[in-house]
Amino acid sequence: MNTKKQMDIFIVDDNKVFSLALKADIEVAFPKMLIKTHLFETGEKCMEKFIQVMPEVIILDYFLNSKYPEAADGIKVLDWIKKENFNTEIIMLTNDDSIDIALKSFHHGASDYVVKTETKFKKINYSLFNLFKTIEARSEAKTFKRLLIALSLVVAILVGGIIAIEIFIPSLFK
């Protein structure tokens, strides 16, 4: 995948070692892409920057209260993000292979769910790869839609012009 457009990714996790390792791993995994990764320890801090940056993807840990006991959990943060921008893609992370949290995440609008096992980084990168394709397809569909509207307008103007000429200057076509 090779695109010139910058992709902003937020990583929200209260473990700095994990966030930093993931940031570096993403940069290594997608060397041809222009990716800017922003790290946050809580959902509250992430939301302070959200509107300003409008990231395409957020990698969000479910448990965010080990350092800050009052910090909101991943599902609450997911709701805040979706309320601000429904199109932001969210990958939910957790250490627990809990079906309840997985189902809850999907019901609240997460695009994917990754359990932090030994292969977590590979799984996250695979998930990112798929999301990048979705984002690219969505962007191409938007461009195609605009082109179609522009083409329809040109055709409508042409047809309108011909009809107008037929009505007002019928001799022109004879």
Binding site: N15, V17, A21, A24, N65
Partner: protein
């Protein structure tokens, strides 16, 4: 603590191959993560100690849970079952004595890991 207790194993507890592979061998990235780990682990050990003193099971569970991710990145697999057990006991809200015993092992192994990482880091300079 006796000198013998300060290292429970003569072998290395850290296997930094995983981290190196993950970072594509980029030394500056490996060093950056080592720095964060060396700063973060003592803070986390302090948080667990405080939580044990206050018998705060939720906090014990939370910190043990968070530490699992970082120790796995640094290849300290020997700590994973200890942290898992602490997290489970914290979640059940029972056995503070068992948690204390696990915490003693955790401190010893983390100190050993810190020493090993400091040595590895010094080789970069």
């Amino acid at each position: 603590m006796t000198t013998n207790e300060s290292k429970i194993d003569k072998g290395n507890v850290c296997d930094l191959n995983y981290l190196s592979e993950l970072m594509g061998g980029k030394k500056h990235l490996i060093e950056e993560i080592m720095d964060v780990f060396l700063k973060q682990v003592p803070e986390e050990l302090q948080s667990i100690n405080d939580a044990i003193e206050k018998i705060n099971y939720a906090a014990i569970k939370g910190v043990a849970h968070t530490m699992k991710s970082s120790v796995s990145i640094m290849g300290i697999s020997v700590l994973t079952p200890i942290l898992q057990e602490m997290e489970d006991l914290g979640s059940n809200g029972t056995s503070i004595e068992k948690i204390k015993e696990l915490n003693r092992k955790l401190i010893l192994l983390c100190n050993q890991a810190i020493e090993e990482i400091k040595i590895e880091k010094s080789k970069f300079i």
